[in-house]
């Protein structure tokens, strides 16, 4: 593929004043048309984020203090944990991802969003589905499949909502102006097409025409890893391909690499599911294929690092850039850890330890959520017409999140290794392995407190924006005082 064939509206062209005015107006119109649905997705995402954070803290504390409120059936650990997980997956992450994707789609297709009420309806169904699902789990209706715990009534509500949302995202392509399809659009379009595919396939093979025995676990993890990579991962990577060039005012390092990266990702990431079941009761080739597929997936982040080269100092000023770059870096850490823990010699020890929890959090928080925070810092001011009120709150959010997820990852990795080594040593009693991980789990609870602070600060700040209490200013809120002509001023 010839690199010049890959169309990219070069972010640097934005500085061209001859077309600048027209584009400004056009963007303002597009932003206005997306205001209601995107803000609704964001607002519901933030509410779920807070709820999920509280559930997470509860889960974490109960793990090392098992007697904490254990006498009520709907507060038992085994129900709170899936509730936390599903709130985060379908309440927070999917909502914020879809909100961002809709906004990006509208911007990149250069078209106003038609019939926003349909999207709002879809979002309503989606949130209703999540609510039903969480109640179902707490009442003991969980299905027993990882990341698919929602009982069928919630699952189908969710799906109806999703169909409304996705069909609009895809239809937006019909109304797009100009033929060029930017890299971000590939990822977003792919995510919107992949999700119903995998969701329907999993629902069909697990509940409607259930497959036999261990294959349920295979289908389950095929779905779960695809949800992680092809849904959340695509949404986040697409966002990165937009945000980094936009904020630093420099095109993507290599379009060629971007194209290769996209198809590598699409091809291999979908094969990684069995990585979670190393040496389980399956034909060995399935597991080997998944392990092998992890390796190319880890290379996809390269392009972002190359694009950023020389521009890292800008992270001092731009909140969007800071969150986004942290997330993009975490992608590499996440996928490299994914390779390591699935190698058989490591899986022997780490397969059933807390390391897999660290892995999921690296993917869903350090990678996905941080990128989405960055996107919200970029998009929300454009929707409400105000700038973020306090740079200090953004800093608190960033550092509390970073220290929180960093500490959590360290604690779970270290604790998981100790746990795994003890578990693999049959001369020790089994409880030795669980006892030895408890101090690390207490450390993890500490990190959870940090992240709780981060999320409440962020939610407060977001609420100020929703209420129109942001700053009225012509320049975005920078984290630190800035001299003229940093990238973000251009991109604004």
């Amino acid at each position: 593929m010839n690199p010049t064939e890959i169309p990219l509206k070069s972010p640097s062209s934005v500085t061209d004043l001859s077309i600048g005015d027209v584009e400004q107006v056009e963007r303002a119109l597009i932003d206005a048309s997306t205001r209601v649905p995107v803000l609704m997705f964001y607002a519901s995402a933030v509410v779920w984020l807070l709820l999920g954070t509280l559930l997470a803290g509860f889960t974490s504390f109960k793990l090392h203090s098992p007697d904490l409120l254990s006498n009520v059936s709907f507060l038992t650990w085994g129900r709170i944990r899936p509730a936390h997980l599903n709130v985060m997956l379908y309440g927070w992450a999917s909502n914020v991802g879809m909100g961002t994707a809709i906004w990006l789609m509208a911007r990149l297709c250069r078209t106003t969003l038609r019939h926003p009420l349909l999207l709002v309806t879809g979002g309503g169904f989606w949130n209703l589905g999540v609510l039903l699902g969480i109640c179902g789990i707490l009442m003991g209706d969980s299905t027993g499949y990882h990341w698919l715990e929602f009982p069928s009534y919630a699952a189908w509500t969710l799906f109806v909502g999703y169909s409304l949302i996705a069909s609009w995202a895809v239809l937006m392509f019909r109304f797009r102006r100009g033929d060029p399809i930017y890299i971000t659009q590939w990822y977003l379009l792919a995510a919107f097409l992949w999700f119903p595919w995998m969701y329907l396939a999993a629902q069909t093979m697990l509940f409607i025409v259930p497959v036999q025995g261990v294959l349920q676990a295979a289908v389950n993890w095929w779905y779960a890893n695809n949800l992680l990579f092809l849904w959340f991962g695509s949404l986040a990577l697409g966002t990165v391909y937009y945000m980094i060039p936009k904020v630093i005012g420099r095109p993507v390092y290599s379009y060629h690499l971007a194209a290769i990266g996209f198809w590598t990702y699409a091809f291999f990431a979908s094969w990684t599911g069995m990585q979670r079941l190393v040496d389980g009761p399956f034909p060995a080739w399935m597991i080997t294929a998944s392990i092998a597929a992890m390796i190319p997936v880890a290379t996809v982040g390269l392009n972002h690092h190359m694009t950023m080269r020389g521009y890292f100092p800008l992270m001092r000023y731009s909140p969007t850039l800071r969150f986004t770059v942290f997330g993009a870096m975490s992608y590499t850490a996440f996928s490299v850890l994914g390779v390591v823990i699935s190698l058989r010699s490591f899986a022997r020890y780490l397969q059933f330890s807390e390391v897999s929890v660290a892995y999921s959090h690296l993917g869903l928080y350090a990678f996905f959520s941080m990128i989405m925070f960055g996107a919200m810092y970029y998009i929300v001011p454009r929707l409400v017409g105000r700038e973020w009120r306090f740079a200090s709150l953004i800093k608190i959010h960033f550092w509390a999140s970073v220290y929180g997820i960093g500490l959590m990852t360290l604690m779970l990795l270290a604790g998981g290794m100790v746990q795994g080594m003890n578990m693999e040593n049959p001369t020790l009693p089994f409880t030795e392995s669980t006892q030895s991980v408890l101090p690390y789990l207490r450390g993890r609870s500490l990190s959870g407190i940090l992240m709780t602070v981060a999320h409440f600060v962020f939610a407060y700040h977001f609420l100020l924006m929703l209420l129109g209490l942001g700053r009225t200013a012509s320049v975005p809120t920078f984290l630190n005082p800035v001299n003229p002509e940093p990238g973000e001023m251009v991109a604004h």
Binding site: L63, P66, P210, V214, D279, P281, T431, S433, Q435
Partner: protein, 377 residues
């Protein structure tokens, strides 16, 4: 990228390819396994679980047990799972498993709860760890009633299995039949109560105190409703009626002296002793107050699966034997709800010890070395 259409096609094709690879082809390869049997077609493994155990699986899932307990034993070359002994070691010490798990072990499981985390021990063979007299009877050929079709309340895959002859129905029947017999319908249950062979689960264990009882031919007809017919209401009444039922005159099933039954629900235990590890009574005590069984346990208590009530007259036969600070206090007793009994029935049914032709067993060389090629290596 030239245009919209190739992009969309490419996007759909990549996922379709992985679906083919990781879901469809494996389904062709291991998705339609039948239970294994010997030449006479009698020694059948695995068997569908009883209705009570299946209901127990729902309880297990609903309370998220599978987030901390795996149900898979990895091969000896992959991990030391099969060398690991259980903490509360009875004698002889019980291992996590004698052989690795294989796809065939799970053909009736829905969902198959392989697990991803071991904050608690692996449970693939927890039923095997039970004291010998309580262990779910190994599947033995019993030419009796081969005509009984697919067992009640079995998981749907049962449809593609040849009707399991042998004592599958017998085993099926034993559990549900024994359960309601304790307190509920004194008139209806005597035959069913008699039908219980060596106790197979919690409920059976409690009222099958006299093991000498002749194992009468199972009565399939009575067991079917007991399994499928809504057990909850029956249970509710069971709980309410339990007191009178436990009184000597009306109690139909347990022939044991009530005093002894009240003191020691576990068969082997004297009043002051703890139940034998991994027996049904042990599971109940462990679920109700984990740290009264193992100080180092990190398991939450599942007290909401148990009922605390006043002892009127005699203590009921299935009350948990608790001492120390978790004891309910004078005049009170803790009895398992029907859900708890089902959960324990499920736990007791977890047993992958039967040799499989495709898996090399550590203990008994059941299969010829040639046939012992690990299919799921």
């Amino acid at each position: 990228m030239k245009g919209f259409t190739p992009l969309v096609l490419g996007i759909l094709a990549t996922l379709a390819f992985s679906w083919l690879g990781l879901a469809y082809i494996p389904d062709l390869q291991i998705g339609h396994l039948d239970p294994q049997s010997d030449e006479e077609g009698t020694d059948i493994y695995p068997m569908p679980k009883s209705g009570m155990a299946e209901r127990g699986r729902r309880i297990y899932v609903a309370n998220g047990c599978f987030y901390c307990h795996s149900e898979q034993v990895r091969a000896d070359y992959a991990a030391s799972d099969i060398d690991r002994l259980r903490d509360a070691a009875p004698s002889p010490p019980s291992k996590w498993g004698d052989r690795r798990s294989a796809p065939r072990d799970y053909i009736f499981d829905r969902p198959a709860l392989l697990g991803k985390m071991r904050m608690g021990p692996d449970l693939a063979n927890i039923g095997k760890a039970a004291p010998a007299e309580e262990e779910a009877p190994p599947v033995q050929p019993s030419p009796a009633n081969p005509a009984n079709p697919a067992p009640p309340g079995a998981s749907p895959p049962a449809a593609n299995v040849s009707p399991p002859p042998g004592n599958a129905p017998a085993q099926q029947n034993a559990k549900p039949a024994a359960q309601p017999s304790t307190p509920t319908e004194p008139g209806a249950s005597p035959p069913a109560a008699n039908a219980s062979p060596p106790p197979t689960n919690a409920a059976a264990q409690q009222n099958a105190k006299p093991p000498a009882q002749p194992s009468a031919p199972p009565a399939p007809a009575t067991s079917l409703p007991a399994t499928n017919g809504s057990p909850t209401p029956a249970n509710a009444t069971a709980q309410q009626n339990a007191k009178p039922a436990a009184q000597p005159p009306t109690s139909p099933a347990p022939a044991a002296p009530p005093a002894q039954a009240a003191a020691a629900p576990s068969p082997a235990a004297s009043p002051s002793e703890s139940p034998a590890p991994y027996s049904a009574a042990w599971h109940h005590q462990h679920l109700y107050a984990p740290r009264s069984v193992n100080l180092d346990s990190d398991m939450p208590a599942y007290k909401f699966l148990y009922e605390k009530r006043r002892v009127g007259g005699e203590q009921s036969a299935d009350a948990i034997n608790l001492r120390g600070e978790v004891a309910p206090g004078e005049g009170w007793e803790i009895v398992p709800t029907y859900d708890a009994k089902c959960l324990v029935a499920y736990l007791m049914s977890l047993n992958q010890s039967h040799p499989l032709n495709e898996v090399k067993s550590a203990a008994p060389p059941a299969a010829s070395p040639a046939a012992a090629k690990p299919a799921a290596k």
